[in-house]
Assembly symmetry: C2
Homo-oligomer: 210 residues x 2
C-alpha cells in the first residue's frame, strides 16, 4: 500500500495492469532471496523484510484472489488461448489458489503444486473451499483491493499484513475504500526496511459499516 | 493518521471538532509524560513514543496551523468573547504560532512564550513569518489536513512525521487528498508503541501534481 492508501495506481491498462506507478509498490520485494527462490530465480538479498515474508508464507495452505489479480482481462475466458496467470508454468504459490470470478472454468493444475480453482458462487464459498483445501493451515487473501474489501466488510479477516511503501500514488484503488469504520485494530508486529514498512494487525472489535 | 488515511473523522461538529472517532487518533499521546508536562500536568508514562516526541519537539522555533485547528468556529472573530485556542492560558507550544485565516486579528500573547499571530495573506507569507520568528530553528506544520495539503502541494515540506493509529475511521478528512503523486519519499526513521506507529519521511524527488 502506498502511504496515501492505494494498492494500485490510477488508469490501469493491459500494459500497466497495476496502474500508473503501481508496479513501484512491489519493488521492495523483487530483490529478496525469499521472493526469488519460489519464482525459480537464484541469488537475492536478505534484509529486514525477510523474516516478515518468512512468517507470512510459513503456514499458508491456500490462497484466494480476485479475477483482476489473476489477470487475463475481464469477461468470459478464452478457451482457445487460455490465460493461466502471470506466473508462468510454475507459479510461486505451491498450494491451491481460488480465483473469484463471474465466469465458470475448469480447474487448472500447474507445476509445483499450484492449482487454480475458479469460484463463481461468491466470497463465502471461496473461503469454505480454501479452508478445506488448506487442511488446517491458514488461508491467505492475496488481493486485489475489491476482494480484500469484500472479506473485510464480511468480518472474515483475522489478520492483516500490510506492506506500506514510502510514496504517494495520488489515485488508484484504495485498499480500505468503503469498508466502514473499525475503531480498534491490534498492532501485532512492525518491521521496517529502507524501502518498506511492514505492519501486522489482528482484526478484532466491532465494525461500524458506513 | 488512521490506517485508512484520515486525520479527522466524519461529521465534525462543535461537540466533536475532530469528527466521529477523530479524538481517538490522539489517545496514544495523552498518557505520555512528554505530552503532559508542557500541558502543565504531572506524571505520565515513558514508552517507545517518548523519543519520537522528544525529537519532534527538540528544535521547533515556530508553528503554523490552520484556522480550524486553532478553533473558534468559522467566520469573523468575536471581539467581545475572543477565542484564544483550545489550550487555556498557557498553551503547550511555548513559541510563536502562526494561524492561517481569512479574518484579520491582532496578535494574542499568551503565558509561557506562546504568541498567536493571525496571517491573512497566505501560506508563503505564514512560512516567511514563521521562519523569521523561529530564528534558525525548524518550523512545524501542525495541521489540519487542508493546511498540510497546501504546503505539500507547494513543495514546501521537507520532513513528515506521521503517527499512524491502528484503526479505520471510514470517512473524514484525508491527509493526502488532492496532493498528487510523489514517487519517492525517503523513510528516515520508524518506531512503534502498542497503539501507534511513528513514520518519519524526508520529502524529496519530483512531485506529479494530479
Amino acid at each position: 500500500m502506498s502511504l496515501d492508501g492505494f494498492v494500485a495506481g490510477p488508469n490501469p491498462s493491459v500494459q500497466d495492469p497495476l496502474g500508473v506507478g503501481g508496479e513501484q509498490l512491489h519493488e521492495w520485494v523483487f530483490p529478496l532471496e525469499i521472493w526469488r527462490r519460489p519464482h525459480g530465480l537464484e541469488g537475492g538479498v536478505v534484509n529486514e523484510s525477510t523474516p516478515v515474508m518468512e512468517e507470512e508464507q510459513a503456514n499458508i495452505g491456500a490462497t484466494i484472489m480476485g479475477r483482476n489479480m489473476f489477470g487475463g482481462g475481464p469477461g468470459p475466458w478464452d478457451e482457445k488461448d487460455p490465460w493461466n496467470g502471470w506466473w508462468g508454468s510454475t507459479p510461486p504459490f505451491h498450494h491451491p489458489v481460488f480465483v473469484l470470478t463471474h465466469h465458470a472454468r475448469e480447474t487448472v493444475v500447474m507445476e509445483g503444486g499450484t492449482r487454480f480453482t475458479f469460484v463463481t458462487d461468491g466470497t463465502e464459498s471461496a473461503l469454505d473451499q480454501a479452508r478445506r483445501a488448506a487442511g488446517g493451515k491458514d488461508v491467505a487473501l492475496a488481493g486485489g483491493a475489491r476482494v480484500a474489501q469484500q472479506y473485510l466488510k464480511a468480518g472474515l479477516v483475522d489478520e492483516m499484513q500490510l506492506h506500506v511503501v514510502p510514496m504517494l500514488l495520488g489515485g488508484g484503488a484504495r485498499l480500505f475504500e468503503g469498508v466502514g469504520a473499525l475503531r480498534s485494530l491490534v498492532l501485532v508486529k512492525t518491521a521496517a526496511a529502507s524501502d518498506v514498512v511492514h505492519l501486522k494487525f489482528a482484526v478484532g472489535g466491532e465494525w461500524q459499516v458506513g
